[in-house]
Symmetry: C2
Subunit: 211 residues, 2 copies
């Protein structure tokens, strides 16, 4: 109880430096790419000394983690919006397209997100907890599967389809960055016969949707 102190809230000397640092990092990331994202460059961009960030993040990885966290929130929002925009079976395809588009539009951020996840050997998602309200993109996909007719009691089938969809979307997002697959990237706006087909083909529908 005596530990009822606020954890990291209000402005101090220079206002909310933590926020300013994350913003500076995202600005740099967009402008110069991931390789330019040094801690010193972020501090420079935010107008503070190279040592200042260490009072808000234990090391560089923790700063990148904060940036990645906002990326996952953005991705989740994009997927949620995509689902809300259409109805029925189109929802899963729409979510998949939104995922790949996010990776295309934020390639540096997307890379930071997965780099951070790999370092921690964990995605920032609780696969077990299927509660959609906790802002969990993985569960958004799973819930949509269920709504489209997957049997939630057939756990294996359900998670199988969800994992397959996630793997497929991530794989596509990475492949679309290679010039061998430029036509994938080109298809992301407007008509997208190939991409739609890949998503359907990869199992963005529950297993028994083939009937």
């Amino acid at each position: 109880m005596s530990e009822a102190k606020t954890i990291e809230p209000r402005p101090y000397h220079h206002g909310d430096l933590r926020r300013a640092l994350v913003d500076a990092a995202r600005r740099l990331l967009e402008a110069e790419g991931p390789s330019a994202l040094s801690l010193r460059a972020v501090a420079r961009e935010a107008g503070v000394s190279p040592a200042a960030p260490y009072h808000h993040f234990k090391d560089k990885a923790e700063l990148l983690d904060a940036v990645a966290h906002e990326g996952w929130e953005m991705l989740q929002m994009a997927m949620t919006d995509a689902k809300a925009g259409v109805e029925g079976r189109e929802q899963l395809t729409s979510i998949g397209i939104a995922y790949v588009c996010f990776a295309r539009d934020n390639p540096a951020l997307y890379r930071v997100m997965y780099d951070a996840a790999r370092d921690k050997e964990a995605l920032p998602m609780d696969v077990e907890d299927a509660n959609p309200e906790n802002g969990n993109a993985y569960c958004l996909v799973r819930d949509t599967m269920i709504e489209q007719g997957a049997d939630p009691r057939a756990e294996t089938h359900l998670e199988l389809a969800t994992v397959a969809a996630w793997c497929g979307a991530h794989g596509l997002a990475e492949m679309a960055g290679f010039k061998q697959f430029d036509h994938l990237k080109a298809e992301l706006g407007g008509e997208r016969p190939f991409l739609d087909a890949v998503f359907r083909h990869m199992g963005l529908f529950p297993t028994h949707a083939h009937d």
Copy 2:
């Protein structure tokens, strides 16, 4: 014609330093992980000065490229062996399992391979040239699809299935590194009902194999 000089062949001062450097890099990579793979550390491991590598590689990226290249060759071999080990429809699943196993057994190398590819924005594979003899893993998958009944004249369907399979395998390889999907990793040896199902589900068979 006057340019008939050999390009990078025989030993000189210290023998074949280029080879020694790549070997040293791979040794370091396996022992210490990708973050320990500095050019200076590689030179140290090979017993030469920090500047020596620059007579064989234009910069660090080019050295990593050489390492990645050998990784792709290893992967191609693993996939070819996997295909040769079984018959019929099992071949595609077997290739997929081999792909994911390779990523599991050589995580650092696998990461270097895709990092190098991302920097060049291209996989080291010629997707257009379907000649299997050029040692092209992507074409190995496509050819196997054809052998299993895909129509090579239906270009879209064929490449669709191949891209879907590649994306799925890469996605699975990455997901298997996250602790949320430990059961995927655990399944890679021996019985693998879930993984097999994911592969089948993701389209490791030609589209009309669902009939």
